[in-house]
Subunit: 418 residues, 2 copies
């Protein structure tokens, strides 16, 4: 029996790969006194890759990172929660640059060997308010003093409406070298990410943030390519409320300390690295969905049998975003009429007389008509805290998947005011 | 002082124009025994016009009406609530045709002079269930016996989740003739209509139904043209939950009994008729918004200063549909960051540093930045049960308006199960 080549370690995140340090402290940006500033630093300079929200109202740190990403070397990431630094104009952009400079200054004060390389910046929280920069400055200094191999507090310090911190990591063998990838993430509302490497469409549709690290040796273009693929099948396929944030960012730093032979495109090692990154990012993305504000059910929506991949995408997103479908799921109601209506207004090629709908393995609709004897069984499936809905359009061979949630009274209550 | 040329009569609907009769009875389609079948009949044959959902999963009656509309003569409308006759296949279509035939049969039994002309059909309610046709048949007979000049019960019999029946009517003077237009409507959820005369896009995004009657003499093409304009500025501009129905329909019958000189395109009479129809349809559309499931606030969203009319449309619909914006309004929170984020993902040309936002007359945001001293004033506006939000994109001269609602816990509770 072959053992799984990808070994997960759920008890570590960005500090699982060699040479990464992290910290998370309370700088006073959040009024409740919780941790709100994270610092991640590599002992050696890093290649970097990133994907960024395609929202045109990009937050200042997104604009800043877009200019910096993939430039070598990157040294680390500084991030705050409690304030998105979005819609904050030129002052906001200047504050982001200051955060980056202060992080570098504080890190080298902590350890003079950490010189060289820039810091990427991320922010999450309320839009339209300027950061309290004196608090941020002393916070960054404190965070640098606290750098360690424990990344739990860094994961905590990027939480906003999250109820749990999110981290995971994986290990693979590339040749004789052990390569690790680790990550921390945040996100619970304003979740329908649509990120691309350039911050420009095409990309589909959280504030969600995810910071990934690896000790692999891999060229910057390949690093970006693997991240694009990974994000495309994970963070860009989740939805809580259909609202794409101004701040969504995934960053991946690679410091090369694993000492593997450089990963070559198309090689067995490349495929294994990609698979590991895919599985890690999907696990982190699903943690975000599971922690969706006030949700009671996680729904995997599959569209199959679409005429084109664009049709599949339109249909799956219309269903995943349908207020009425999400409300029905909240009540454990497998109301397929609302699914059919959503496909019908999605713009996808659709003939409702060809629709099949399954709740897990229960066939509820065939050729557009309800199978009455299966309604009770479908209700039992829809009463679970997680289930799979498959809508086959019967028009072709294309498919798409979204990981979504129900819409609950608690979600509305939570978002009524800040 | 000039008196208003358009006189409203809120105490009448489809029976305000000469020569129309209506009824509404309980056929037993609704399990609670409420009225669920409406009949509207003209004493004389009618020209007709209609707009229909652009959802590709069209209900059987929509498919049927699309084939029949604008063919002369039309005699009336038969409509049921409690069952949408959508996603019901060939059986559903056959049942629609039977409803039309039975309505004609029953009407002529009621009064032999009502011969000639077809009946249009509408249905609203749950999707995917076949109509109980024996109940429908006896219901139609009963409805014909009850035909009268009272249209209140006809308005009641098309209600589903509506809490109040909806009707209104207007009177204008065209030359020496008095011309009247009347209407009844229904709708409270699954509301973001996108109707066109052909049932095909382009048209933007309820089940909402509206039946309009007039005694004007007007040619069928002009009748359709005036209806297109009226629906474009009323029903196609409202939103409760962003879910476009499979059944949305507006029908307009004109029996010519006013005896006016035929209305000519571009004439003063045409303009007055158009204005009256616009005001009537907008009043009925706003009744639907006001009766939105579980809502607590009505929000008029204006986008101004857009580069193109398409940009204005994208931006205004993204705001009106934003789950997070609607939740903020529920809490009386003028959270403009959520509005800016929605514009940012709408696909409209947008530079967030040029955004201005007003809550009624309170300027909350200028050049993309919050005016802190006005936040308290904006909160007072957003605490009202109805207010106007104006987002000026600062990029051009184009604008668009949507009439939308907040999203409340009650909405979710209501839609959790049927």
């Amino acid at each position: 029996m072959k053992s799984n080549p990808i070994q997960f370690n759920p008890h570590a995140g960005v500090c699982y790969p060699k040479g990464f340090l992290a910290s998370g402290i309370a700088a006073g940006i959040k009024k409740n006194g919780n941790r709100d500033l994270s610092l991640i630093v590599s002992e050696t300079p890093c290649a970097s890759a990133g994907t960024f929200t395609t929202n045109t109202a990009k937050a200042a740190p997104v604009v800043f990172d877009l200019e910096l990403i993939r430039k070598f070397p990157i040294r680390g990431i500084v991030a705050n929660s409690g304030n998105a630094n979005a819609s904050t104009g030129k002052v906001g952009y200047k504050n982001t640059r200051l955060m980056s400079e202060w992080a570098h200054e504080a890190a080298t004060t902590f350890d003079p060997r950490l010189q060289g390389g820039n810091f990427l910046v991320c922010s999450t929280g309320r839009i339209g308010v300027q950061l309290p920069m004196s608090k941020v400055k002393s916070g960054i200094k404190l965070a640098a003093k606290k750098l360690s191999r424990d990344d739990k507090v860094a994961a905590e310090a990027i939480m906003t409406s999250d109820t749990v911190f999110k981290r995971n990591s994986v290990e693979i063998n590339l040749g004789s070298s052990i390569v690790r990838i680790g990550g921390i993430a945040k996100g619970a509302g304003m979740i329908e990410p649509g990120m691309s490497a350039s911050g420009k469409p095409p990309a589909l549709h959280a504030t969600m943030l995810c910071f990934l690290t690896t000790d692999a040796i891999i060229s910057p273009p390949l690093l970006q390519a693997t991240l694009n693929t990974a994000v495309g099948q994970s963070f860009n396929r989740i939805d809580v409320d259909g609202d794409m944030s101004t701040n969504d960012t995934v960053l991946l730093l690679a410091n090369g300390q694993a000492g593997n032979s450089p990963i070559k495109k198309g090689s067995r090692e490349f495929k294994l690295f990609q698979q590991a990154l895919n599985e890690l990012t999907l696990s982190l993305a699903l943690m975000i969905v599971k922690d969706g504000e006030g949700i009671s059910r996680i729904v995997t929506v599959n569209v199959t049998g679409a005429k084109t991949s664009i049709d599949a995408e339109k249909a799956v997103r219309a269903i995943a975003n349908s207020t009425l479908a999400k409300c029905a799921w909240c009540g454990g109601d497998p109301n397929w009429g609302r699914l059919s209506a959503a496909i019908g207004y999605s713009g996808a090629n659709y003939d409702c007389s060809k629709l099949s709908v399954k709740y897990n393995t229960v066939l509820l609709v065939k050729n557009g008509l309800q199978i009455d004897k299966n309604v009770k069984k479908a209700r039992i499936v829809a009463a679970n805290s997680s289930f799979i809905v498959t809508c086959d359009l019967g028009m072709g061979k294309h498919g798409a998947t979204m990981y979504t949630t129900d819409l609950t009274e608690k979600y509305v209550e939570f978002n009524k005011g800040e």
